[in-house]
């Protein structure tokens, strides 16, 4: 069978039209129900849900209100990402910090330790402490340190894959050296491939 030039042109035009029907990029609500859900990766909605669960638990127990200082002083210690998914743990921590610090329920001491978050502020604090005859850390003595770990459990049956991501955080009372609060948030996703929407 031979194609006439008219028929060939129509087919090409049809192919071009179908090709143009692909999904165009658009803005969606961050962590909203239109988000991409991946089975083997930590998604933004997982981080948002984990941060929300941690904050709810902290507020529910009232641990920050029982600190010697008001607002409670926190030092962020090591949070280990022990999953195969690459993401910055700051994605989790900054969301929590924003809620706690901006609402006046806690303060993050950014001048503490050998690897202080704000080296400049630490230098100024040291100079001020020296001039006032105090030890360098006395003015910013924290109440709690925050440590944590993110782990994963992967399982599969046939071509169905399942991953559970577990977020764990712990507050340690620096005055007693004891665990004051701890919380685990699990996130389990199952499927054969990534999808859009949940």
């Amino acid at each position: 069978m031979q194609l006439t030039p008219l028929c060939s042109g129509t087919l090409i035009a049809l192919a071009l039209m179908l090709g143009a029907c692909g999904q165009k990029a658009k803005y969606i609500e961050t962590g909203g129900t239109e988000s991409v859900v991946s089975v083997g990766e930590v998604d933004i909605q997982d981080i948002q849900m984990a941060a929300s669960g941690m904050l709810e638990s902290m507020l529910e127990t009232g641990i920050l209100k029982r600190a010697p200082h008001e607002p409670a002083r926190l030092v962020l210690d090591r949070i280990v990402n022990d999953t195969s998914s690459r993401f910055d743990v700051g994605e989790l921590l900054y969301r929590m910090r924003e809620q706690l610090v901006n609402s006046g329920q806690a303060e993050v001491v950014t001048t503490w330790g050998a690897n202080a978050e704000s080296q400049e502020a630490q230098g100024i604090a040291r100079r001020e402490a020296f001039l006032n005859g105090k030890t360098e850390q006395e003015s910013a003595q924290p109440d709690f340190t925050l440590t944590g770990k993110i782990t994963q459990l992967k399982r599969s049956a046939g071509n169905v894959r399942q991953t559970t991501y577990t977020f764990r955080l712990t507050l340690t009372n620096v005055n007693t050296g004891r665990e004051a609060w701890t919380k685990t948030v699990d996130m389990t996703k199952q499927g054969t491939k990534s999808g859009v929407g949940f």
Binding site: T33, S52, L55, L59, E60, Q99
Partner: protein, 143 residues
């Protein structure tokens, strides 16, 4: 002719019964010692239904609000699934100030829940601070 009609009626009724029994397989049976309503149940809540089909199968059976140990309010909403299959849905709590304004919070995110056929689940949320006095719950079905 009448005999044939009644036979086909019996067959249809039997088929329907069998379908209902099979659909009921895997449903959740629940036993509870609590017979009285919870003390913190709210008598009046404002409900706006846009997805009628979803509301038929998936609906709230009790709404409670009380002060948590740490001070802020805790909201608990019991959701029952009357469908013959597992239902997944997304939900989001937003908390309101005494003046009725939404309190922006990192805790107000879309979360997911899954309820088996005939079962129920309690979704909950903690207010972002002690001054929040009301909440708004949005739900959206996933399947």
């Amino acid at each position: 002719m009448d005999g044939r009609r009644s036979r086909s009626f019996i067959t249809a009724a039997g088929g329907l019964m069998l379908a209902l029994v099979l659909a009921g397989c895997g449903s959740v049976n629940t036993v509870s010692t609590r017979t009285a309503p919870a003390e913190d149940s709210l008598a009046h809540v404002n409900v706006q239904v846009n997805d009628v089909l979803s509301d038929i199968f998936l609906h709230s059976t009790d709404v409670r609000m009380f002060r948590s140990r740490g001070g802020p309010y805790e909201a608990q909403v019991d959701v029952a699934n009357d469908d013959f299959r597992q239902r997944r849905f997304a939900y989001r709590f937003s908390w309101l100030s005494p003046a009725g304004n939404v309190i922006p919070s990192q805790m107000s995110t879309w979360k997911t829940a899954s309820i088996p056929s005939g079962g129920s689940s309690t979704i909950r949320s903690i207010a972002p601070n002690d001054s929040a006095t009301d909440f708004r719950l949005e739900t959206r079905r996933s399947n």
